[in-house]
Symmetry: C2
Subunit: 304 residues, 2 copies
């Protein structure tokens, strides 16, 4: 079957490409770690054409890209759409990439242009477009390196807050005194008692979150916990404090949770403890749905 378009989620450190038909059915896919960081060294055009060639994509097949390829350090800078803004209008500010072999567009990011709560996203807005097609209202939690909480009203983004939860876990776990108390790569389950206890305490007292970090080390020196507790303890404090802050900002209620299986498993029970009713959403399906909707707007067929 002949593909209609190539869709790309081009993140900071990951690259995912799908060839799809007009309904969004995946015909072929290719992924690698050639994210923005790496591609800015090797060249975005050659990364794209290598993957297209590998999948045997037809000459002239158009491409729609979302994510960090549109950052200032990316391929071509795409603007930010100021919120509040509708998610079905992203294509209006898509940028056309000068690229001889085929038609390539990069979708814009979104910005909360407020001095007291400045915030930006690139890539998540496309996932949100995919989600809003069926769930146009409510709160969306998108965990990751920089976890985003986004409020939707009638298919518009009306608020956003980014938390550096994943990145703080990594840098504090690797570079501070807590490196003696934990393995940043340690795997643990959401039902690890140290994770749940730490998350509960941070959820109950988020204003004390900054006082809950040094005790991770001290508790091991004094024999209350072991090194295996370090990673779940730090993760619990950070995730609990994040969810408490988001609840204060947006209120508890129905929330869509969009992440990897592992992060979904960590966030879901803490969000439920915080009073949220959680719907799990597959992040890859969401970004593909948003990309295919944009592709259909950019490349309409007559009568559509």
């Amino acid at each position: 079957m002949t593909p209609f378009c190539a869709l790309i989620d081009w993140g900071t450190s990951s690259f995912r490409l799908w060839l799809v038909d007009r309904q969004g059915t995946v015909l072929a896919e290719s992924r690698s770690d050639e994210g923005m960081m790496q591609s800015s060294q090797t060249g975005f055009a050659s990364v794209l054409e290598n993957h297209m060639g590998k999948l045997g994509a037809p000459a002239g097949l158009p491409v729609v890209i979302s994510g960090m390829a549109g950052a200032r350090q990316g391929w071509v800078e795409a603007p930010y759409v100021d919120i509040p803004a509708p998610l079905d209008g992203l294509t209006a500010l898509a940028v056309r990439v000068p690229h001889e072999p085929r038609d390539v567009h990069i979708l814009p990011g979104m910005a909360q242009n407020r001095a007291d709560a400045a915030d930006v996203m690139r890539g998540e807005e496309t996932q949100l477009a995919g989600i809003a097609a069926t769930q146009p209202d409510g709160l969306v939690c998108m965990p990751g390196t920089h976890c985003k909480w986004v409020s939707l009203e009638g298919g518009h983004v009306t608020g956003m807050s980014s938390f550096m939860t994943g990145e703080i876990f990594a840098v504090v776990g690797q570079h501070s005194i807590l490196k003696h108390a934990l393995e940043p790569q340690a795997r643990f389950d959401a039902d690890h008692p140290t994770f749940r206890a730490a998350a509960s305490r941070a959820l109950a007292q988020p204003a004390q979150a900054m006082a809950m970090l040094f005790p991770i080390r001290a508790g091991q020196l004094l024999g209350f916990e072991g090194r295996d507790d370090g990673a779940p303890h730090l993760s619990g404090v950070l995730i609990g404090a994040e969810i408490a802050a988001a609840r204060e900002l947006y209120g508890a209620g129905r929330a869509a949770l969009v992440a990897s299986q592992r992060l979904n498993a960590l966030y879901k029970p803490v969000m439920e403890e915080a009073g949220f009713s959680v719907d799990l959403i597959d992040g890859e399906e969401a970004v593909r749905a948003g990309l295919v909707a944009a592709a259909r707007q950019l490349h309409p067929v007559s009568g559509e």
Copy 2:
């Protein structure tokens, strides 16, 4: 004049030695960056004797040490005294170091042996002993890499809370996405408007502190702030959140502030905004007062 004793404040990354008379008057001093980290490589005994030799200290002059030389990775491990505990009883748990040339003692640290708020200190207890001699009651704030807040009652330590404020500033500023938004070494004054505004907001909403980090980067991308604002902005968020958390734990009131001139200048106005009445205390004088009191207990003269 013949010295009575050598006093040493042996920290993680700094070494300070004073020769004093029995009243604590400083007769000579020597300092270097040969803290625990470096001395554990080169040898604690030789670091000590080099400094003693440089000052021409008499053979057999006794030495009293406070700080990280008593850590597990230090010279000889000194125990932790569990709080609540009196500050004039540190010498009872001092450890004698096997050191041929002279009598050497290392003072113990202090621990808050609570599973829900485990905490430890090494070195600060000696500063506190110096402070408690004249201010036996009240709250003491000791900013630094790991800022300590300590409550004193009748010359006893009754509570302590460590915040990783200085270290989080350094590791997040150097290793996270915020490295694009700030110079970790940047100097700024306490009256920098970005510092004061960030501190005020974190003080007012400490439960939102984790939501105030990513906006430091986003605010620069969106043109609200410049790179010069990054360091004061991050510092303000962290110091404001710390002071708010300490106020919740210990209540606002009279508080002694013990730090370098620069950190005192940053903390004082934010503590005052938080409702504290602040007494500035010289940290070096305090540790010397605590050390000399311990030295007099360890080496009494008849009739004293």
